[in-house]
């Protein structure tokens, strides 16, 4: 137990993806401003990422066979196997991508358990914040309150009026029942294995298709403008909506391009999307024909590009919230953080989903008039051009988004989250 005057220690444990990691950074920044001491439990590979934002890090041990070469080989195999799957629709991805990904997620939970339990013993946090899609029994056993962050789309929490998770469907789509059945079938083996693991760790198994229970507090990013009216509303004493969760970043100054005129368009497909250099190369060829300036996040693959057009600027990393703020259009993969940043800054989204909840956000962007969906596999130069020009010219959408942005910025999600976490202590 900490002394009366000591700052409460909040241990963040985001999954090994940038969306979750940076979402937690935003909340941790706000908690630090409020006098708490946020610390991060890091997956291998994220070492140093949180320290650069000023937070203390605790590191999970490398998983067995986790050398740099093994990880590079694993990624190469992942790319070879899954790149074609990203062109499939959400239902066809269930057996090809979703099922093996859930198996891998269960593996990460099992691998992390012992190391995580040891770190939590060392940190002795006053609260734990988990931003992931799966529960770690060590958190349930840590003896302090824990917070679940749903940083994916709201579809992660099932409800009769919310579309099925990862489906890309509307809530009332006739295909709903078929998708739900197929999802249950595709995830059954991983789910059974995960429940066996939970029992062995002394915590109760979860119902079919559910890999993560709700915390003492559950926070959802889902902004009001795209939120669903639930058949069973979430009780306000254990759930809070954040209306996005946008962190403070350093300022981005667009370097001078040979083409100095035109609205700025940002393309960021996340680190997973950046792997598809062939697709981005095709898109850049279309950008060259448009009267706009394009900032393109190509991740660690800059050397895959040559003869970059005069109206395009490539980078391996951008302080995304600052870039989005200055953009007239954001082309993204439907990652929930990206979608929320677009709404927060009142910028239209052109969503090209790859997988997971990208499908759900693409559907939601169209349904709420905050953006447009374009399929990865079924676009050509003309359809992409038309989509970009249409979104750049859509005054009604811009006005709608400005109102959404105003409401979100008036009460930032990072502050709401930090206040809710501190109230839990």
């Amino acid at each position: 137990m900490r002394g009366r005057n000591e700052a409460p220690v909040i241990a963040f444990f985001p999954e090994a993806s940038f969306g979750a990691a940076l979402n937690c950074v935003g909340i941790a920044q706000e908690l630090a401003r409020m006098g708490a001491e946020p610390v991060f439990v890091c997956h291998p590979g994220f070492t140093g990422v949180f320290a650069d934002y000023g937070f203390k890090e605790y590191h999970l041990p490398e998983p067995p066979g986790g050398s740099a070469q093994a990880s590079a080989d694993y990624w190469q195999a992942f790319i070879n196997t899954h790149m074609p799957h990203f062109n499939l629709d959400a239902q066809a991805q269930l057996d090809t991508y979703v099922a093996p990904t859930w198996e891998a997620i269960v593996d990460t939970a099992i691998d992390a358990e012992a190391g995580l339990a040891a770190l939590l013993d060392q940190i002795r946090p006053d609260a734990i914040v988990l931003d992931n899609v799966i529960m770690f029994p060590a958190i349930a056993r840590a003896g302090c309150p824990w917070v679940r962050i749903v940083s994916c789309a709201e579809t992660e929490l099932p409800d009769a009026h919310v579309p099925p998770y990862l489906s890309g469907l509307a809530a009332d789509d006739p295909a709903r029942a078929g998708f739900e059945k197929a999802y249950a079938r595709a995830t059954r083996a991983a789910h059974r294995r995960y429940n066996d693991f939970r029992r062995a760790q002394g915590i109760a198994p979860l119902p079919q298709g559910i890999f993560l229970e709700n915390g003492d507090l559950t926070l959802l990013l889902s902004p009001e403008a795209v939120r669903y009216e639930r058949a069973r509303p979430l009780p306000a004493d254990r759930f809070a909506y954040l209306d996005g969760c946008v962190r403070t970043e350093s300022r981005f100054d667009l370097p001078r391009l040979p083409v100095a005129e035109g609205p700025m368009v940002y393309l960021g497909f996340g680190s997973l999307g950046a792997i598809d250099t062939a697709l981005i190369t095709r898109m850049i060829a279309v950008f060259a024909t448009l009267p706009a300036r394009f900032v393109v996040n190509v991740g660690g693959f800059l050397d895959a590009y040559d003869h970059v057009p005069d109206n395009v600027y490539l980078g391996d990393w951008f302080p995304q919230p600052s870039v989005v703020e200055q953009s007239a259009l954001f082309i993204h993969h439907g990652g929930n953080n990206s979608f929320c940043e677009a709404l927060y800054h009142g910028v239209p989204s052109l969503v090209m989903p790859y997988c997971w909840d990208g499908h759900d956000n693409a559907q939601r962007a169209e349904a709420t008039g905050t953006g447009m969906r374009i399929g990865r596999a079924d676009w050509n130069g003309e359809t992409l051009r038309t989509a970009i020009l249409r979104l750049l010219d859509d005054e009604a959408m811009r006005t709608r988004l400005a109102a959404i942005s105003g409401r979100m910025q008036a009460n930032p999600g990072t502050r709401r989250a930090a206040e809710a976490i501190l109230r839990l202590l």
Binding site: E15, A16, S17, H43, P44, G45, F46, T47, G48, V49, D52, Y53, G54, P63, A68, S71, A72, W75, F78, T101, W102, E103, A104, I105, T108, N132, V133, T248, E249, S250, R251, F252, D253, P255, R256, L257, P258, A260, S271, L272, A274, G299, G300, F301, L302, D303, Y305, D306, H307, V308, P309, D310, Y313, L314, G315, D316, W317, F318, P319, S322
Partner: protein, 310 residues
């Protein structure tokens, strides 16, 4: 005589851009006063070049002059101060910097013929050759047998940035401990004042371009003070290359500030003639400055790290 005049003009333009950078960082609004003394110190120059820079800004309607009061910001951040900075950049532009910046942005490939450059930039053969000679002086391009020119490695990929850091880890601490290191205290004081001014800005207001400028100035200054002439030459050329080609680094605000504090700790040790401590602090600073970021991450998979030390 035309060349020195042109160089002076370029310096004043660069200084004017620096003034805008400071105004943006400090969140200055239209109508606010820019005291000459404060800006001279912040930029590490005397008042004469600062007056020339203010004059350029006045000519471009970014500042206004009031009798006996001085210069005031006319164009605030809401009225297009960033765009005004870009206009100045265009005025400053020389063909050599355009070629280098196009190479760094991967617009042109690493081997170029003079005629291809003549076509791209619409300039005479002689002008292009002069620009290439300027770049060759810094070792950025070399002439191949025949009419082509080849770019040397620049800091445009995660791998080359990592290699640059490893090179600096070998040489920068050595540049301090080599016999004959002599700190130029006046310049050290000016650099310290610039870094302190950056630290006083609001969170999130330090731009990456402005940080890069002060970072390369600091490390270039350490190299200049070294007693080892070869270390000095190699490091100065390398920092020029960093400044010209490594522009789009995006570092969280916390790390930018921590980095500036580390620079000042190194200066503290040098001023106390504790060269070994300063060299150790330099090693620590460079190790902390390594950008540690997975190239790819996805749920269920160990993140992908590349680079020599991954």
């Amino acid at each position: 005589m035309a060349e020195p005049r042109r160089n002076a003009r370029q310096n004043h333009l660069a200084l004017a851009k620096q003034v805008i950078g400071i105004a943006l960082e400090r969140g200055l609004q239209s109508g606010e006063h820019l005291p000459e003394q404060v800006y001279s110190e912040a930029c590490g120059v005397s008042r004469t070049p600062m007056r020339a820079a203010f004059k350029i800004l006045e000519e471009n309607e970014i500042l206004s002059w009031r009798e006996e009061e001085g210069y005031f910001l006319e164009t605030g951040p809401q009225d297009g101060l960033t765009e005004a900075a870009q206009l100045l950049e265009e005025m400053e532009d020389s063909l050599a910097t355009r070629i280098l910046s196009d190479r760094a942005a991967r617009r042109i490939s690493d081997v170029q013929s003079v005629s291809a450059l003549v076509r791209r930039y619409g300039r005479s053969r002689n002008t292009v050759l002069n620009a290439l000679k300027i770049l060759a002086r810094d070792g950025i391009v070399t002439q191949l047998p025949g009419r082509s020119w080849a770019f040397q490695p620049i800091l445009d990929t995660p791998r080359s940035i990592e290699e640059s850091l490893q090179f600096r880890l070998i040489l920068e601490p050595q540049a301090i401990t080599a016999p004959g290191f002599a700190l130029e205290s006046k310049k050290a004081g000016l650099l310290r004042a610039q870094m302190q001014a950056h630290l006083q800005t609001r969170q999130g207001r330090i731009g990456s371009a402005s940080f890069m400028r002060i970072d390369t100035e600091f490390h270039g200054f350490i190299a200049e003070c070294s007693g080892n002439r070869f270390a000095r030459g190699a490091l100065l050329a390398h920092h020029r290359l960093r400044r010209a080609t490594q522009k789009d680094i995006s570092i969280p605000d916390f790390r930018l500030r921590q980095s500036l504090e580390e620079h000042m700790d190194i200066l503290d040790s040098l001023e106390k003639l504790q060269f070994d401590v300063a060299a150790d602090l330099m090693t620590l600073h460079l190790r902390r400055s390594r950008i540690r970021r997975p190239d790819a991450a996805n749920r269920g998979i160990v993140p992908l790290m590349r680079g020599p030390n991954a």
